[in-house]
Amino acid sequence: MKKPLLALLLATGCALAPYSQESVDTAATLRDQSAAVMALAVRPFADYKDSVALLRSRLEAALTVERGRPDNNESIQQWILLTSRSGSLLGGFLTRWEANGTLGQLFVNEKRTQVMRAFAIIIATEEAKR
């Protein structure tokens, strides 16, 4: 009865993008930059709109690079979740800051913790491709 397991395993194609150290480095850099920008959200958005615009453009560039790698669907989906402006992670946080002007300290702290966890998972996902 075990034969199907072996046959299935040999027949299954598990295409996976090759590991990219560059992707890990980019994610780590963006994690640190995001943490720094998010900490400013208790202050008026207008004072930091250029920093936010720069961060957004770097996040979009990272997503573009991930989209260009073959067999990379899971990582692309992760970056979309992280950066979506209508979501509830980094992209959504920046949208909320922009809409509200300032955000509360506890919310900023908790959301920053979530976003750091999200980056850690994205990095771990890339490491799993080694």
Binding site: K2, K3, L5, L6, L9, L10, T12, C14, A15, L16, E74, S75, Q77, Q78, L81, L82, G87, S88, L89, G92, R96, G104, L106, F107, E110, K111, Q114, R117, A118, I121, I122, A124, T125, A128, K129, R130
Partner: protein, 102 residues
């Protein structure tokens, strides 16, 4: 050295997969327990006025999105493991064929 039989290889694979499922189950249970603890803290913060209801909802949505990230991560880990096992099986088959040919 005698290469393992197909049955031995299949046993090794089954053992590895059983271990993986057990590990996945434990990891997700930990993630859910930690999320539950965070939600309790946020509920207390809403009651004390330190978080608005809208902020609370956004944090809960964030937890759901992190779970989605975890599922995607586990998918990649499972694919990598499958590829490792597949390569191992193919190596065993090649070794068995070489032994027969010698």
């Amino acid at each position: 050295m005698t290469p393992p039989t197909l049955e031995e290889v299949e046993d090794a694979i089954e053992k590895k997969l059983d271990g993986l499922f057990e590990q996945l189950s434990e990891e997700f249970e930990t993630v859910l327990n930690e999320a539950e603890a965070r939600v309790d803290v946020w509920i207390a913060a809403v009651v004390s006025g330190d978080l608005s209801l809208d902020e609370f909802r956004d944090l809960v949505e964030g937890e759901k999105e992190i779970l989605e990230l975890e599922v995607l991560h586990k998918t990649v880990s499972a694919k990598a493991l499958t590829n490792t096992i597949k390569n191992f099986v193919l190596e065993q088959i090649v070794a068995a064929v070489e032994t027969v040919l010698e």
